[in-house]
Symmetry: C2
Subunit: 217 residues, 2 copies
């Protein structure tokens, strides 16, 4: 049986119900911790499920911040300092990561509140998450104001830290092997199980499974 909902069915939903519902509908999402510092060096850590790839050359990623109607330290700190980190989650990290969304009192670092390590690496001006396995350091590039008041933040990757042995010979990084998680809706965390990698699509033949061997890295 198929269920059909229209725009007005969505409009008639209770506010919290609709937030859960519409957050679930786009499909699987990335989930990461974004680490920032203000100009005085205080650290902030926040969970986001909207990190996307924008381009490889230059290496650009985006993420969506919510409206600035309440204090949003992540946004403010990126404005002040110009750098931030994106840190993948794994199964030993997602509960602490989820807890960073609590509204702690002003001046409380989420790193300390949830028991994660603010790791400063190679002079990068924003803190990485010590417990994360794949850690990216980015430089702010630009932002775009979207119709509903959210903001697309665009940044360029400057630094990557990750375990050895994940990079395949064609450049693919096996983030499933690293245990990286995905999220559905607002609050559901998932591990993954690869079905296959498929070869570059060409009009005259069906895609084949590709199984590249590991690169020495």
């Amino acid at each position: 049986m198929e269920h059909h909902l229209t725009r007005s069915d969505i409009q008639d939903m209770d506010k919290r119900f609709r937030a859960q519902f519409i957050n679930s509908i786009p499909g699987f999402k990335s989930v990461s911790l974004v680490g920032t510092a203000d100009s005085a060096g205080s650290h902030n850590l926040a969970i986001f499920n909207s990190v996307i790839h924008l381009g490889s050359n230059p290496p650009l990623l985006g993420f969506i911040t919510r409206p600035t109607t309440v204090p949003r330290h992540t946004y403010q700190n990126i404005q002040e300092v110009g750098h931030y980190t994106i840190n993948h989650l794994h199964r030993d990290l997602y509960r602490a990561a989820h807890q960073t969304a609590a509204r702690y009192e002003e001046g409380v670092s989420e790193f300390e509140a949830v028991g994660l390590t603010a790791e400063l690496k190679a002079g990068f001006p924003a803190p990485f998450v010590g417990e994360s396995r794949i850690k990216l350091g980015l430089k702010y590039v630009e932002e775009h104001a979207i119709a509903n008041g959210t903001i697309l933040m665009v940044g360029e990757i400057q630094e990557i830290w990750m375990p050895t042995g994940l990079i395949r010979e064609d450049g693919y990084v096996d983030i499933e092997q690293a245990g990286s998680l995905g999220v559905t809706g607002i609050d559901s965390y998932h591990e993954t199980r690869r079905l296959a990698r498929l070869s570059y699509a060409k009009p005259d033949r069906a895609p084949e499974e590709i199984n590249p061997s590991p690169l020495q890295s």
Copy 2:
């Protein structure tokens, strides 16, 4: 052992290697088929791994299109008609979905070329994918030109078709139960396995697992 890459290491990569590498690094991604029609009624179908949630009220989703330096029918058709569909993948559908990325000759519908059904529903002006289980119909809202020439397309959900029994009592939609897939990199398709849903984060207590019962839908 940790592996460290800098901006210049990324710059020095071979172009295809870098595309695989940087596409893998953001984390898990959604994967969907976007269906469009031109003003003459010809259908187009293309795979995207950048669909994101932008807001629930109004219900806005975004996705990224590549530069318009080569013909991009999805973008052109949305400009012409103003509507498009987003269709989830599942394990019986991802090989055909991947194949839509092949460069077919002008005038060839990817629906026919890869053997998927263009489903017209309730007068909606863009085709849904008959074999998909979760199907969204959207109206174009706006677009944003990003520094690297990609474009963020913003649309508002007008119609949703999905199997019954997926909506939980709090509004969460169990897309894992529907078999929806995620993607890593450019070409790796994954099923998922839920670790837990976690309760709303509050400063004074750790999050708990939530297991809401199904809603009659």
